[in-house]
Point group: C2
Amino acid sequence: MPAALIESIANLRDHLSGARRASATIGLVPTMGALHVGHARLIEQARRECQLVAVSIFINPTQFDRADDLARYPRTLAADSSLCDRLGVDVIFAPSVEEMYPSKPQCTVAVGPIADHLCGRYRPGHFQGVATIVLKLLQIVQPDRAYFGEKDAQQLAIVRRLVADFNVAAHIVGVPTVREADGLAVSSRNARLSPEERQSATALYRALQFADRQICDGVTDAGSVTHAAASTIPDNPLLKLEYLEIVDPDDMQPVSTIAGPVRVAGALWVGSTRLIDNVLSTPPAVLQS
Amino acid sequence: MPAALIESIANLRDHLSGARRASATIGLVPTMGALHVGHARLIEQARRECQLVAVSIFINPTQFDRADDLARYPRTLAADSSLCDRLGVDVIFAPSVEEMYPSKPQCTVAVGPIADHLCGRYRPGHFQGVATIVLKLLQIVQPDRAYFGEKDAQQLAIVRRLVADFNVAAHIVGVPTVREADGLAVSSRNARLSPEERQSATALYRALQFADRQICDGVTDAGSVTHAAASTIPDNPLLKLEYLEIVDPDDMQPVSTIAGPVRVAGALWVGSTRLIDNVLSTPPAVLQS
């Protein structure tokens, strides 16, 4: 049966009320569309764990810090619907901007120091926009479980705090990053890369792997790890490293001495496309204990 | 049957899950305790409209802008419980500060221009604290209906926007202000007044009534109405008017020419106690049309 395509909040609530009355487990996969194999992994896990799977497709304008990025964001609803059908999604919720923001909001989510580093430092207002739209989607769908990719590690950490801080009755599930054969993290923005850019784009994951090996080898000074990892990025006019940082995996604060599991995260401009990636690294002292 | 007194979020969710499965209508009356006849009115209305009535009693530290006000806020749990029992409340939720704020939150509610005037102007951070705790309580209880007094008109307007902006699935019910025989709005803070202060405290409502009469008589210039109303406050060392403003009843923005229903609101210091009150006024042109 094809997924029901629903555009209004009222119709979605109607549609879900039967499942809720029957105590069906509801899973939500929030997306901005342009679905790829990474999203498929989220949907497949939701399908295994929930009786009703809803995928939201909404390109949220309030989380874009650059107008050109919003304008260029891929819109592929027909292909997205086919993929959802193949994966057995029950409901696609694809509201308009007017449906989600009928008037200028008075209340938004403010995000604290967890948004001060990594992407939060370079994308002003981005995580306020993300947290606000995720809260709205969680209220509209009221899922038992909501699925987010680990590729957006800071987003995932913030969503976990959003749900804890506001006592939202949903369980947040993080799903591992899906990679191409050469290691590039799958992303909707990869579609924008020229063949030459695509080839160079693996530099980010290679730098993260380099950092991971240093940490596994027992290097504990975060500054020397990030410095050495950043210098593996080729001197190529297509590439510009925005950041490469080592942070605590929960509160996303910079770590200076690596004494436990850390998140190594980076953002790399490849031509006019900004890509992000991260790995979780555990120093040997922790593995032995 | 006496109300169940529950202190933990997990126990409350357990307790409510049966009612939710049975599709019982759940009503929430959020309070800071020190229950009075105004709260009783909220509870009675909830009792008439809902199958399960929960009263939360939590003195929320994050909404107090002054430490002495928090320290002096009356705490009367035994009397509050008795009143709830008499009114047929099903559940009292009385969590500790640690239960509600186990760690410093990363996510809070930011409130826009609706909090710029009236109390919001004089109590920095107050409505951010109110909006955040109300959102948390709405997530914990997940009520069908939540009841708030019109005495706190700006709070009620902000809660209505909170629920609309975040798509919270709860209906917000405003309940008219309860007054003493001489017009003083019932408030937990009235208990702090000395007999002499109590007598002078009616000046605020009298000023609001004066403004209402002017508006009903057709005066449309908000500045002259508030000026004239403020001058009715007696020249008494016990009394200090903090504000007396005329605002739009939905977005709480100042009105200069009165052309439709307006909220006339004021805050008056009586000794070291700050009291607030408001009336909804409708000019004659609107009544005739």
